[in-house]
């Protein structure tokens, strides 16, 4: 089974972000990144399907060249190769154009049996790209997958998690499926695998390789445009500040809960 996994390097949550005042977007060049956590669940899904039915797992990522290093982790986890889709003209692309670029990259290498992705990113978090990628590729697509089972070489059983229900589908391959975190627990790469991954290929695909002209990508081609950046306006309350020993603070919270009518439930000590 030939499987592609689309991953996004996202800002390391432990680093501080800077914004480009012109583009009004996060400056991604040189930013410390990690693989978007749900994308690791997608990769894990792909690796398990490969273990079951053979084939290859290839990672695609639209990111600045500096993200190449964090993509090595996908190779260490077990991906066979990585395509880094990168070009300065891609900067500022919105989700529709990001999906277009990824669709071009996937078509250029050859449409696989299955394209997997995480269902949302921890940075912009729109969750639009997998569905829009499916549309650009003309493939059926599903989001919010919490279970994926290969029924036969042509069909996949996919269980999706919505607000109040799980809905299961049978989807004919090739297809695009985005997964939630609850689908599995991604494996950790060992140090040895990290070292071995250095010899696996990371291939760059730029705009020229994808036959994309500068007018077709980036901020100018994107239907949505960022406007002003504004400070968030949090609700600030005149709260009571309290500090003291751990015992005093714990008791204060319990007292407050009780005064609001929410003591520990029956069987607890308070009542």
């Amino acid at each position: 089974m030939n499987i592609y996994v689309v991953v996004k390097p996202v800002p390391d949550p432990k680093t501080k972000l800077t914004y480009d005042p012109e583009q009004k977007t996060v400056i991604r060049a040189g930013l410390a990144t990690v693989i978007n956590p749900p994308d690791k669940n997608a990769l894990e899904t792909g690796l398990r399907l490969r273990e079951q039915s053979g084939g290859r797992v290839t990672v695609f990522s639209l990111a600045p060249p500096s993200a190449g290093e964090s993509l090595k982790e996908t190779l260490a986890m077990g991906a066979d190769e990585v395509y880094l889709v990168s070009d300065p003209v891609f900067a500022g692309s919105d989700t529709l154009i990001t999906a277009l670029i990824l669709a071009r990259a996937i078509s250029a290498i050859g449409v696989p049996d299955l394209v997997l992705a995480g269902d949302r990113t921890t940075d912009s978090g729109t969750s639009h790209v997998p569905a829009q990628l499916g549309e650009w590729l003309g493939l059926p697509h599903l989001a919010n997958a919490c279970e994926i089972v290969l029924r036969d070489q042509k069909n996949l059983a996919v269980k999706t998690s919505l607000d109040e229900v799980f809905i299961s589908y049978r989807v004919t391959l090739p297809a695009v499926v985005s997964v939630t975190r609850r689908i599995n627990r991604p494996r950790l790469a060992t140090l040895l695998e990290m070292v071995r991954s250095r010899s696996k290929p990371v291939t760059l695909l730029d705009a020229a390789a994808l036959n994309l002209s500068p007018e077709q990508t980036g901020l100018n081609a994107s239907p949505t445009k960022p406007g002003r950046l504004l400070p968030a306006r949090p609700v600030v309350k005149e709260g009571t500040i309290m500090s003291g020993t751990v015992g005093e603070m714990a008791q204060e919270i319990l007292n407050r809960l009780q005064s609001l009518g929410y003591g520990p439930k029956a069987g607890g000590g308070l009542g």
Partner: protein
């Protein structure tokens, strides 16, 4: 190009025999925006709603209280959520009626549908808007929470129509009842099903799914809990208090818990408990957008500057995990010093 598009269309989700809260909220938003455009451009701005599924006649009737026109597509293939067919129906209606704005609720299905429709219509879509405005050009300005810093970003879609948006639920108070006398229109939409996606089973999540949204007391934990052991202690405390547990995204990233239904905030749940108790949560906008409607806020954090503390009625400056452990000890020990 813009002249050809007019009005606001809302995709309304039904729940049981009624409308989801998010659908009523969207109708409220749409009414306010329509009035603004109307005032600015001195033109009629009709508000319409789309509802899918043959079982949804009653919710469709309810919608006529909020919208000038309710387009109800009752094809039996639309009984259960099918992303391709639902997107086909909505896209078909957008092409037929050409609204200038199309709104969805930012849930798992709404986001998938909106993205699919935007790709088919080759137009722009903003996600999880927390505020919507009309600028002096008559364009929709969508305010979204930017990642990381406590910054809001405006998103515009100046040259493509319709302007599409998913709206974070629980931000605006939904109108209780509508006063419009809308028209209910049954729509015959040509649905092309290529058969590549078929529904095989539906299973309710049971009460667990709504536990967080319906809870009167929510105990939420963040990165400041430091490890999984402390998260499990928080769950134990929630159990003792009869509270629901919720979390911030880092808790999921660290795999202290894997259930995404527990995440509060943008792309997670919007909650409205009477009491919210947040432990080890700094209070990024991504999280706090989900607790705007909480009654009492109690926050525990080491850092006196933490934003969540600024929002709280009771601010405890101290070590979250230690306080959680102590609360468990007090409750179990029956130490009633009050």
């Amino acid at each position: 190009m813009e002249e050809a598009y007019s009005g606001i269309m809302v995709y309304a989700e039904a729940a049981g025999s009624g409308l989801k809260c998010s659908a009523r909220e969207l109708m409220g938003h749409a009414g306010i925006l329509a009035a603004k455009i109307q005032e600015l451009e001195n033109k009629q701005v009709p508000v319409s709603a789309v509802i899918l599924g043959p079982q949804n006649l009653e919710p469709a009737k309810t919608l006529t209280g909020f919208a000038g026109r309710v387009y109800w597509c009752d094809r039996k293939e639309l009984t259960v959520y099918h992303p391709g067919l639902y997107a086909g129906a909505i896209t078909g209606l957008v092409e037929k009626y050409r609204p200038e704005i199309v709104m969805f609720a930012a849930g798992p299905a709404g986001s998938e549908l909106a993205a699919t429709c935007a790709a088919r219509l080759k137009t722009g879509l903003a996600a999880h808007a927390v505020e919507l405005e009309i600028n002096r050009d008559g364009h929709l300005v969508q305010l979204v929470v930017s990642y990381g810093e406590n910054i809001m970003g405006e998103i515009l879609c100046p040259a493509h129509r319709p302007q599409m948006v998913t709206v974070q639920s629980g931000i605006l108070e939904p109108p209780v009842s509508g006063t419009a006398a809308g028209e209910l229109i049954r729509e015959e939409i040509d649905l092309r099903d290529d058969g590549r996606l078929t529904i095989t089973a539906i299973e309710g999540k049971g009460n667990e799914a709504c536990r967080l949204e319906e809870a009167e007391v929510v105990l939420a934990g963040g990165y400041g809990l430091k490890n999984k052991k402390n998260w499990l202690q928080l769950e134990e405390l929630a159990d003792l208090l009869g509270a629901a547990t919720g979390c911030t995204r880092p808790v999921l990233d660290e795999h202290w818990v894997d259930d995404e239904d527990l995440m509060i905030g943008i792309s997670g749940k919007t909650i409205h408990p009477r009491v919210y108790l947040g432990i080890g949560i700094s209070g990024s906008s991504h999280h706090t957008a989900g607790i705007q409607k909480a009654g009492w806020i109690i926050a525990v954090n080491n850092d006196v500057q933490a934003r969540l503390l600024q929002m709280a009625d009771l601010r405890i400056v101290g070590d979250g995990p230690a306080i959680v452990a102590e609360m468990i000890k007090i409750i179990k020990g029956g130490n009633t010093s009050t």
